[in-house]
Structure formats: C-alpha cells, structure tokens
Amino acid sequence: MRVSSNQFQQVAIDSMLDQHAKLSKVQQQVATGRRIVKPSDDPVASAKIVKMSDVISNVEQFQHNITTARAKLNLEEGVLANVIDVFHRLRELTIQANNDSQSSETRGFIAEEMGQLLDEVVGLANSTDSNGEFIFAGNKGHHKPFSGKSEGGFEYHGDAGQRFIAIGPRRQIAVNDSGTDVFREIRDGNGKFNVYESPNNLGDGIIDPGVATSQYAGGTYAIVFDQRTSIDPNEPLTYSVIDDKGNAVVAPGQIYGPDDAIEFGGVQTFIRGEPKAGDYFVVRPSFHQDVFTSIQQYIAELRHGQATDAAHAQLHNHTNQFLNGLDQALGRTLEVRANIGARQNALDSQEGINDALRIQMKEILSEVQDLDYGEAVSRLNLKLTGLEASQKAFTRVQGISLFNYL
C-alpha cells in the first residue's frame, strides 16, 4: 500500500502523542496515589467512593463523639466518687452523733462538720463542665440545679432530662444523669416505707426502720398505744394499728413487747425503749426526698439539742431514719456510678466496632480507589519504554529518503 510521506510522519507523531497521554495518565495516578483520578475513570466505583467516604467520615465522627462522651462520663464519675466519699464521712459522723455518750455540745461540733460536708456535696452536685454547663441540671444546663431555700430545704432548678450522644449508626448513649435521678429521687425510710414517731410522744419508744415484705402495697398506718383502761401498773401495754381511713388493721388490745415484732400489711418492725400509752408511730410509704434536705434536717436536729429522754428517743428515731435515707442515697449514687461504668464499657466496645468498620471501609475504599504502586510503576516503565521506542523509530525513519542517494 502507498503511504504518503505526510501520513508517515503523522502516524509517528500521533503514536508519540498517544504514548505521552498514556504516560501522563500513569504519572497522575502515581502522583496522587489514586487509581481513579476522575469519575470517568470508573463511574460506578466513583459513586461508591462518594458514599464510602461519607460512611467513613460518619464513623470517624462517631469515634469523635465517643471521645466526647467518655470525657463527660469520666467527669461525672469523678464527681460521684467525691460524693460517695462525702456520704461515707457523713455516715460515720451520724453514727458518732447517735452515741449516747455525746453531749449537746459535742453534737454541735459534729453538726458543724456535717454542715461543711453538706456544703461540699451541694457544691459537687452543682459541678460544671469545661463549657460551664451544670452536669446535674438535666437539660437546663445553664441553671444552677440546687439552691437552698430560705425556709430550709433545697430547690431543684433543672429537669429530669438526659442527653444522648450518637456513638454508632443506631446506637446512642446517655452522657449525663440529672440531679433528679442522682440526688432527688431518693426514697426515704427503708425505700418502701418510712416510720416516725409523733412529736408529742411522752415515752421514749424507738421504732426500728423495719422491713417491707412483698405484701406492702403503699398504705399509711398508725401504730397507736392504747389508753390504759385501769390504773393497774402491771396492766400490759397494748397497741392497735389503723390505716389512713381510720379502719383498724390490728384490733386494739394487741399486747406490746419490746422484742416482739409488730407485723401488719407487709410491714415488719418493732419498737424498743419505753413507749407510753397514747404515743403513736406512723408508717407511710417512702417518698422522694432530696438527700440534701435530709442532711440539712438532721443537722438542724443535732444543733437543736436534746434535753429530755423523749427528745433523745426522737433523735435515735431520726438518726435511724436518716441513716436509712443516707444509705438509699449512697446506694443510688453507687448505682449511677456503676451505670456510668457500664456506659463506659459500651463506649469501649462501640469504639472497637466502629474501628473495625472504619478499617474495613477504608480497606474497601483503598481497594476501589487506591493505586497498586507495583503494578503502576511497572506500567509506568512499560509506557516509558513504549515512548522511547516511538521516539527512536521516529528519528530512525526520519532520516530515510531516496533523495539521500541521488
């Protein structure tokens, strides 16, 4: 076939241009480290890359969220550890104060220290994080949650809200506990019911906090010591139990003994000391009372001083109640702390899952997107050889002309 000289040159040039283009493509791939430099290189994979990059960025965000959640939980845990220490110290002091060897004066000293501890624990409950957010205020993070009322007791300005942080595609974890959860929803008494004596009692009967059986359905009762029917000093002391509608649960005439259990409607307790006829004791369901108010009330009681035996009995009764309440509070704090530990574990395990997912996605992404350098470099060499060959061929062919021989 005839080949025109023009075409002859053009073919050689075209071939070189072509080799150049291919070389530049490989060079671009090697320089960027990506197999797919633009979507048209592999349109289907490109769509995948967009989605996968999004998933990876999402997972990385989850990992970041986990770090944030962990910081928050660590902070809360640290605060709760301090709270627990304070509660333990309060418990020791309470037991000390209950000792009959204490005088009103020494109780005053104890009350002083307990007052400091109360300030400390309220301060802890009003802790803020690095953003100045109150950690126990629920969702009202800019309201200082606990403040004392002028008439005594504490007020809560937060709410019961709990904040969640997303740590996985379908996994959210709570990063706070509200003041209500930790400090306010403390059942007084033994957790089911609370017992207390009438302030007008003449005797010094001390009622045990008691035990609730499963039959206790939340009723309110009064244990009333019956009026004497005679002046016989040996007439046994009797009692009756009535509910809040005035119905007798235990009929009058039940003989009282200091070691005899008093049992009715799921309530088990006993009364020590020397109750007198006409004294009464009330059993009512446990209410929520914030632990600070309980502490404050007990301190007031200690400061008040006890002049009479009855007042001493009252103090013992209140100490029993208070210890109960404090144990409830301590139990709740430990519970919340354990819960935080569980959440921290969940964070760790989710972090592992996320990491595995991230690595897996990155691997797939890398397979789809990244360049096999070995293959690319050998391709680069091949293209270089091709280009060199074209150039050599061009220069060789270039010189040939019949005119050289004429």
């Binding site: 075409q7 592999d42 769509a47 629920g138 904040r163 309110t220 005035g246 009372q289």
Partner: protein
Amino acid sequence: MSGGDLLGISTSGILASQRALSTAGHNIANATTPGYSRQRVDMAARPPQMLGNGALGTGVIVNNVERVYNEFLTSEVRDTTSMSKYLDKTHEYTSQVDNMLADPQAGLAPTMSSFFDAVNGLANEPSSTAAREVMLAASHNLADRFAYLNTRFENLREGANKDIRAMVGEVNQLARGIADINKAIVRSQEVSQRAPNDLLDQRDRLVQQLAEQINVNVTVQDDGRMNVFVGNGQTLVVGDVASNLVVAPNEHDASRMEVLFAGTGSNIVITQFLSGGQLGGLAKFRNEVLDPAQNELGRIALGISKSFNEQHHLGMDLNNDLGGDFFVPLDKLSPEVMPSINNKGDLQLRAEITDTSKLTTSNYSLYYRKGEYELLRLDDSKVMAHFKDFPQTIETDGIKLDILRGSSMQEGDRYMIQPTRRASDLFAVQLQSVDKIAAASPVRAEADIDNLGSGKIKITQITDTTTPIFNMADGELRPPYVVRFVDDRHFEVLDNSGKPVKVKLAALADDPNISLYNDKHDKSNPTRQAAKSAGHAQEEHHERNDNNATAGALNVVVGPIEYDPRKGIEVFPTPGGMAQGFHVRLDGTPKAGDLFRVEFNSDASSDNKNALAMADLQTKRVLMDGKSDYAQTYGQLVSRIGSKSHELDVNSQAQKLLLDRATEEKESAAGVNVDEEAANMVRYQNQYQANAQVIATANRVLQILMDTFHR
C-alpha cells in the same frame, strides 16, 4: 523516414518529461500542504501518421494533469472528522464537569460531610456557643460550595456561549470562502476546460474545515459548483452565494445562546439539528450534560434545604422559640417560569415545589396549541397534563403550578418551567444568630418527683409543630397536659393549663409538726385527723387516692384509659386519636395518683434531641422518593457525569480510530510520497535524457546526410 519527424517526436518527449518533472516538483513542494491531492500527468501517444506501410508514431502528448482524487474517501474523511470533533468537544467540556464534581477538595461531598460533623458537634455540646458557631460556619461553607459549583456550571455555560459565537463566525467565513472558490472554479473551467486541481483541493479543504465546526451535506452541480447544506437542510452555500448563521439568545432564556440560520424570511433556530462538529458538540454538552447536572445539583440543594428545615422546625432554640428556617426556603424561589419572547398570551403562572422527593431533573414546557394548553416534560416528551379552563392548578412530579389567567393567547405560545436549575445558586443560610439553632426538643415529659410508682415517661418523636398546641402565647403548650393515674391500671389525660396540679402526699408525714390528735386524748380516727390538721392550705390538698381532689377540677381530655404495666402505652397520640404532633410513651409500673407532665421544654439549653435528629439526616433516605440519602444522590450525579464522560471518551477514541483509518486511506490514494516522487523524477529525468539523445541522434543523422552531399 524523416529526420524532422524524429526531431518532432523527441521534442514532444522532452516537453512531456519536462511537464512530468514539474508535476513531480509540484507534488514535492506540496508534500505537506494540508488538503493537497497529488497530481500526475496523463501522457498518451500522439495520433499516428497513416502511411502506406503502416501507422507511424508521432511522439507523446500530455493530455491532462490530473489530481488523484476519490470522492468517497474525501467525504468519508469529512464525515468522520465532523463526528470526531463533535465528540471531542463534548468530551472536553464534560471532563471539566467530571473533574470538578469528584474533586476531594472542590466537590460537594467533603463539605457535606463536614457540615454533618458540625451538626454532630452541636449534638455533643448543644449549649456551647463555639459548637453552634462551628455549625453555622459549616452551613455557610455548604452554601458557598453549592454556589461555587453552580458558578462553575455557569462559567461552562458562558464558555459554551463564547465558543458558539466564535465558531459561528468561522462558519460564516468558511461559507464565504467556499462561495468565492465556487466562482473561481467555474471561471477557470470555462477558460481551460480542464479541472482546476488546486482550487478543487482548496475548496475541499474549506469544506473539511467547515465540517469540523458543523455537520454539513454537500452536493456538486454539473458545472462544478458546490452546494453546502447545514442543520435541517438549510442551504449555507448555493453556488456563488453564501448565507449566514447568526447567534441569538434563546426565546425563554437570555443566558442561552442559540444558533440560527438567517434565511430570506425569518431566522430559524437550528441548534437542535446540530449533530456534528464542534458546534454540535457544544449543543450536546449543554443538553445532555450541563443542564441535567445543574438541575441535579439544584435538586440536591432543594432536598437538603427542605428536609433540614423540616427537622429544624421540630426543635426549639435557646430563646425558647420553635425552630425557624435554617436554610432559605426554596420552594417558591427556585422554580423559574420563563415565557417565550414571542408569546402573545397573558398567562400568569406561579410554580412552587411541593415534594422534593418526587422532583425530576427535567425542565417542563407549557405549550398552547389546538385550543388547549399542554404541559410537557421535556426529558422524555411526556404530556403531563392538558387543560382549557382558568384558573387551573396542576400538581405533578413534586411541583405545583397555579395558572391564574389566560384570556388572550395564540397558537404556539409557550412557557418554559425550570424547577431546580436555580436552586444551588439560591441555596443560602437563613438563620442569623447561633442562639436560633433549634437543638432542643420543644416538649418535655417528666414524672412528678412525688410519684410512688416507677412509671417512666418519654418523648419518642416530634412530628409536627404546626398543630394548635404549639401556638404558644404565654411560653407554654396550649394546653400543657398532665397524665394522672386514677388507679394502678387506669390513667386519664388532663388539661393542665389552669393551676398546675401538684401531688400532695397523703399524710404529709415529713412535717415535723404533725400532730395526730387535735386533742391528745381524742381517740376518734387519729389518722384522718392527721390529714386534716396538716398545717398547709387545705384547698391545695390532694389525697392520693381521692379522684375528686384538686386534679379533678381540671378538664379531663381523654380517659380513663386502661394501662398494662407489662406493655406500656403510647400516651400521645392518645388512643382516642388526639394528634398533637408528638409521640409520648409511658412504661413501668405507676401507682394510683402518680402524675406525669407533658409540657413545653423551656430553658432546656442542654437538650440535644433535635440536634441528634438533624445529625441523623446524614444517613436518612430523604431524597428520590425515599431511596437515597444526600451522599448517595450526589454519588449518583458523580457517577452519571462520570459515565457520560467515560462513554464520550471511549466514543471519541473510537471515532479517532475511524478518522485515522479514513485519513490513511485517503492519504494512501491522494497523498504525496516523496520517495515515489523522487523515483518519478529519476524516471522523467531519464526520459528527458533519452529524448535529448534522440534529438542528438536525429541531429547526427542529419549531419551525416549533409556531409554526404558536401563531399
């Protein structure tokens, strides 16, 4: 035998070989001239002299200098060139879009990811001003990126417009050139009766150049004039006369340049008929790549702004206000109605986007013909609606068209509707200050602190904040609710808008001043007395088990409803069907008298429920009829443009091969091979020398004769 004859014969040989040599020289001189066809001399023996003893040769004659030319091969090269340029141009423009969309720095995907990272940051620290600032900044970045991509699209459109102008100018010049050469060819043929080879080559070259710009059809008349047709058969060149193409704005869209044929009467738009050459490539790029891509990007912008706004509306900001628009709402702004400049009618059209998940990337045309209006989807030419009466409301493909009036109209009136094109340009952040970011849930559900049971209440979802209950004049829901258990298994829902219900405990046992007896020795019903004498205001007193206490004074909205502690219940919407716009669940074991309040979540600066829901949108399938999330939709755009670009790349390479092949064949026939010409030169030089020898011989013969007579 005559020596004179011999001289004549060899002279003719010398002349012929001279002619042949100069033709070879001409070929060599033009070896690299584009479009040049090699020429060769057509030699023939001269007519013989008839003598008695036979026909005596009289030498050689050059009949013609022909160009080696094959009409088929030439048109083959022309057509493949036209197609090749067409694909190249489309590919050149498309690959710009291609590069831009998936660029790790400049594409939309990374900005979208970092926007959602910022939303997550807000969910982590809803009360942090820094986190809010970051999110607002990230949303501005997102808007900037949409604007940037749109600007790039607009630049490409502008670039295409400029190219079209330049190319049309060149087409017109080439057309005039062809007409001029037509004239020259006819004249030269009249004079010489021979084909003017070099003029023909030149004309072929001009037509070839024309084909690079636009697809052409060519016919050659008997007299040698060439007629050139473009578009849909419009005659660009007839004989000596060239017509003009002009560039003018589209009848609907002034930013879109169209190619028109300037005929004798009116100008005819021929853009849609351009199927070859660079002009055709630009038209193809505009129709098949740029418009759909820009529409698609707009659709994503619409989807994001709408779905994000909808979620934002369900939240509450730091000022205790319901969430407003986070992004500028585009429903009414985005759709563009563009009447044709040729319209006579007075139709008033309003377009609005009603459902972003149903949107297509097509444009629509409203067309008046045969007495009625017809709505046409331009991508697949599907008739979506037709009507005659006014006013008219059409809802289709997620768009609502309100057509108000149309008293005067004429056949052919038309309106172009572009629902999504402008959206990415208009995409912007509406929200001004960070305290207006609605990260919190507007509703709070809480158990009363004095509850005896262990019932837990929680908001599971906010679905609608436009219900009357959210019409808050005094910073509270209208009305707030309280759920009250009348016994352990039944509750009622009360309107809590009066005096707030407060549980009073039965015996007020924590009151240290409690006295069981008014008179210490009164034996009658001591506990009842205890309740009565409790120092606090009697009227507020609510005995837990008494249904008719204070709470009873409030309006019962629903109830009593049975409650099963093993299953829990959805309190709102209530089984009675009250749809307040939120879902509230109650679980656990409440006791009689327990209260649960559902109220406005005021001052909840640390609440992040709505921020979590907004962050969730990243992976929620809210676009394309619920089939795709944001990233997937964008991925589809990337992949679609990528495939298009890839397809064009492959096609243009294939076309290049065809062109190479055709060029090779044409060159093989018509191109100059310098070696061949060199050989020819040797041959004709030899011929010349031989003829010269013959003359010398003739001369010697004559000399001998002369000498003979001299002696």
